[in-house]
Amino acid sequence: MSALPLSPARRPVPGVFVALGLTLAIGWLVVAIDGGQLFNQSTTVSLLHVAAGLGFVAVGQTLVILGGSLDLSVAYVVSLSTLVAAETMNGSNAALLPAIGLTLLVSAGIGLFNGLLVTTGQINPFIATLGVGLLLKGYLDSRYDGPAGSTAPALVQTLGYQRVGPVPLSFLLLLAVAGACWFLLSRTRFGHHLIAVGGDPEVARLSGVRNDRVRVTAHVLCSLCAGLAGIYLASRLGSGAPRVGTEGLYDLESIAAVVIGGTALAGGRGGVVGTVGGVLLLAGIDAIFNQLAVDAFAKQVVRGVIIIAAVAVYARRALRKADR
């Protein structure tokens, strides 16, 4: 038959964590030389808060990308959900749960719409979600001329500012969500089907997978994560902010985090664990540059380089694997 060595499938933890380790180590050193300190309480907390915001979005983005799709509307979904949440709560703890429910409902609805455009609408995800993004932008621009509503104090105190030691509650929540997604991918039919659809839609279809249903679900989950990010941001900002998502560049940065995390843009390979690593890496760079008080433009450049370099490394690996 064949003399190929058939080691069982290993799903190794992506190299992003190595990169993360190195970056933080070097960063710590440089900052130390600069006379600062990278891992003091406040810096760590800030780092993890920044990570949490991007993290929710990126984890969701991972799901759609794994499924061979893409979501460029997340930034606007984030903004919208901060507003929905804050306006519904309107400062009262009583309205907390209904508000969260409504927010998730709205974002899920948008995800559904994205999903339907991509599947039954047969529009390329890139264009479809770009278009939906524009729709939302128009709504936000015409309806809001600034922050609106106010977040329930209870939420601000807990999700917004509560922390366990140096670890914010929000980051723990992120870990929980990421964990849930990991579980979803490795332990549920949906997960297996999603990866199959991303790997090769035709194969999935012929194996009896309902591709459309799977893709739509992925989009719904992605938007839900974006909605979650919105709720978190509302808890941080104390009100709804119509521009927070776009200012945060959550659309492109989430995709960046995902690919840095080793998920194939083509779909079918990767996972949320790597994405969390990617998010932490980006946040780590933020923190380091803050400590060194280097202006953001240099950071942009570094980010760009890192994104390309990371993916180049993964490509090398994939190539070597193919050779074997």
């Binding site: 455009l117 529009i123 390329n124 770009l130 960046a256 083509a266 240099a298 993916v311």
Partner: protein, 327 residues
């Protein structure tokens, strides 16, 4: 993660948009009718010419983007490239007329160089172009801000600006012919000829099935890299025209990459490659520009515009998708 797999992922999407330019023509006609209804004199030669002139840059960007997309790739860096070029031009020229033309050459070279880098990273390092050019986008933005520490410096000369701003006046029939329009016409013809040439056909073949192309002796990496270089050059010309038309600003190129890609898709070109015509792509861009003008004429609330734009894009693409997926 090779570009192949990306195209393979987009492969099913390909089937959805066939290459025909009929749908985009239809949309264009509809919009023209709507304009004529509201603003008849818009169709009078002089104003029409000015409109085409001011639309030239985005049309050129769409053409450049087309080369990349039809070969199975993406170029998200063009917007930031335009910004960078405009700012660089201002600082290099620094209001000194004698430097105008040298700087124009520098810009063209710069555009080609960025395209080359994009292409080589994508083809040689096997980084999906979406990621490559996203990275390049961040790098260019950051670099240009760094270089000009945050605020554009220097200034553009009238010689530089006239290309994008002025026109040949008192032309019979047309009234006036903006230089930008002339540039556009020349380059558009060149683009069409290029796509009919061996290179053009090969480019499409590469986007359709790189493997076959390679086994037929095509240097796939080289072909795609050239596509990126062309896109970079198009961005450079666009930058010259935009800088001329609007002057220096960090906003000069903001969002143009998405505009260009949208235009190309509207024009019936399939993301993933191997399908669609450069004419369609350019018509797509023209349609977008016309749509903006239309919204000015109809007084669509500035804040609502993105929605209208989004809805129309989704509609047009969905319908052409439907039309061609009937098999």
């Amino acid at each position: 993660m090779t570009t192949q797999t990306v195209s393979r992922r987009l492969a099913p999407l390909r089937r959805w948009n066939s290459g025909g330019i009929l749908p985009i023509l239809a949309v264009l006609v509809v919009l023209l009718v709507l304009v004529a209804a509201r603003q008849p004199d818009f169709l009078s030669p002089p104003s029409l010419m000015s409109f085409l002139g001011r639309s030239a840059p985005i049309i050129l960007l769409a053409a450049g983007q087309y080369f990349v997309i039809v070969s199975g790739e993406f170029d998200l860096s063009v917007g930031s490239l335009v910004t960078a070029q405009v700012v660089v031009a201002a600082r290099l020229i620094d209001s000194d007329p004698s430097r105008t033309w040298p700087v124009v050459l520098v810009l063209l070279a710069g555009g080609a160089l960025v395209g080359l880098v994009n292409g080589l990273i994508t083809t040689r390092l096997r980084v999906p172009s979406f990621v490559t050019t996203l990275g390049m986008f961040l790098i260019l933005v950051g670099a240009v801000y760094l270089w000009s520490d945050g605020a554009p410096k220097g200034g553009l000369t009238d010689q530089f600006r006239q290309l994008g701003r002025r026109a040949v006046e008192d032309v019979p029939v047309f009234g006036r012919l903006p230089y930008a329009l002339l540039v556009l016409l020349v380059l558009a013809v060149a683009a069409v000829l290029l796509m009919r040439s061996d290179f053009g056909r090969t480019l499409v073949a590469v986007g359709d099935n790189p493997r076959t192309a390679q086994l037929s002796g095509v240097r796939v990496w080289r072909t795609r890299t050239i596509a990126f270089v062309l896109s970079g050059l198009a961005a450079a010309v666009a930058a010259i025209l935009i800088g001329g038309y609007g002057g220096v600003s960090f906003q000069a190129g903001a969002g143009l990459e998405f505009g260009a890609i949208t235009a190309v898709v509207l024009g019936g070109v399939a993301l993933g490659g191997g399908r669609g015509s450069v004419v369609g792509a350019m018509l797509g861009a023209l349609t977008l520009e016309l749509l903006f003008a239309l919204m000015n004429f109809y007084g669509v609330s500035g804040a609502l515009r993105p929605s209208v734009q989004g809805a129309i894009i989704l509609l047009a693409v969905a319908v052409s998708a439907r039309r061609f997926s009937s098999r």
